[in-house]
Symmetry: C2
Subunit: 248 residues, 2 copies
């Protein structure tokens, strides 16, 4: 049986204990009904995965006693997703992006965007929950960029940015991916209404940017994000690895 997994703050070291926050404590005791002595799994983004025992259940906090490191730290591939938040689907995109192993989530507000803000705290909590579920050892960072020009101005020179060009001007994603070496990449997916003409031009001027297309059907923004991530991860990511439990 799989253990409950929780992302925790603080270092994971032999014989240390971890005090969970009120939300996690509530989840463990009231939702999952764990008892003292039960085992759960914890990770913090850099010390690997540990087995921990529920040592004490107080009214508002659960204390865990760390037992042993069960898997060495394994970081997700260095792949960024820049996305325009979209109505009713931002959480879906973040959840799928975490499962598909992105290392950074960059929300960017574009000209035709309908959604003009995100709730960072709630979105990050959703990302952490997805990381806990999908057995990652890390949690992506989440940043906000006030418009596309800010994102591009701050974009690292050595990181290729693949953008979903819904105007049909891009290279077929397969043809684009085939010759690319492993390295630092980001994917950019626009909002429901696509990029504006000046945003398209701005993107084309950027030397690190390559436009791609995903065939004759018009994908919704959230579908485009998940589809592009899957292809890039399959081609340049870590899909040659197996799930942790498959090797044990």
């Amino acid at each position: 049986m799989k253990l409950i997994r929780l992302y925790v703050a603080g270092s994971l070291l032999p014989d240390h204990s971890v005090m969970l926050n009120i939300g996690q404590s509530h989840y463990l005791t009231h939702v999952m009904r764990v008892r003292e002595g039960d085992s759960i799994a914890v990770f913090n983004g850099h010390d690997g995965e540990w087995r921990a025992e529920v040592a004490a259940i107080a009214k508002k906090s659960v204390t865990l006693q760390l037992q042993e490191c069960v898997a060495a730290q394994k970081n997700s591939p260095d792949l960024w997703l820049a996305f325009a938040p979209i109505k009713n689907k931002t959480y879906l995109v973040v959840e799928k992006a975490v499962e598909l192993g992105v290392s950074a989530l960059l929300a960017v507000y574009t000209r035709h965007a309908v959604v003009k803000s995100i709730n960072r705290e709630k979105l990050m909590a959703h990302a952490i929950e997805a990381a806990e579920q999908c057995e990652r050892h890390d949690v992506p960072i989440l940043e906000e960029h006030k418009d596309l020009s800010y994102l591009l101005a701050a974009w690292p020179k050595d990181r290729t940015l693949l953008y979903a060009d819904e105007s049909g001007g891009g290279t077929n994603l397969k043809v684009l991916l085939l010759p690319l070496p492993q390295g630092k990449y980001g994917i950019l997916v626009g909002p429901e209404g696509g990029f504006s003409a000046d945003e398209q031009q701005l993107l084309r001027l950027q030397p690190q940017v390559k436009a791609f297309g995903m065939g004759p059907r018009i994908l919704r923004a959230d579908t485009a994000a998940v589809a592009a991530l899957a292809c890039v991860q399959a081609w340049l990511g870590d899909w040659e690895e197996q799930p942790h439990y498959a090797s044990t």
Copy 2:
């Protein structure tokens, strides 16, 4: 500006008229507020895409007058998706699968499935809406199979079935896809709880079946379906084609 697109029954021929059903009529008049003389686009799955004019708006039905064929019929790739319906996410999977161009949606009930039935009519309506939005000229068929053994017994001998093996035993999807020729394929994705041991064994006995994996992270069933479809479509499908409007 893009025209409203509707999937209609009946043949599309010059000077013919089409009477819309009550749901589509309501949508056009009350949601989209079209008027007599406005143009919309229609398709029926085999006669291509046509421009039609709103000829008459009656209380419960709108009549369209067909004007001209604007695009020759283009069928989606011959790719099937067999999926175990999953809680709260079946509509999402169907919507994404339609956008990603499947030709058949095969719901199959498996041992560990939580969801034991679908509302065929509502699900088909959702598939049609997705087809209208993504600019397909066709709508996939939707079938139900009462369990995996029935699906496999009916599976065509000349169609390869790629199944998402969440136990970690499959070939990395990229490695699997690289040498495959274009042809007839299906993808099978299990339910939240995965396949049972006897279902796994049944799958392995089938000569047309190949198991694949998608890396070290555990994908939810809906993520797995979308990710696998994207990769297979990118590799063996029609992504070398452009959206229709990009070539006009």
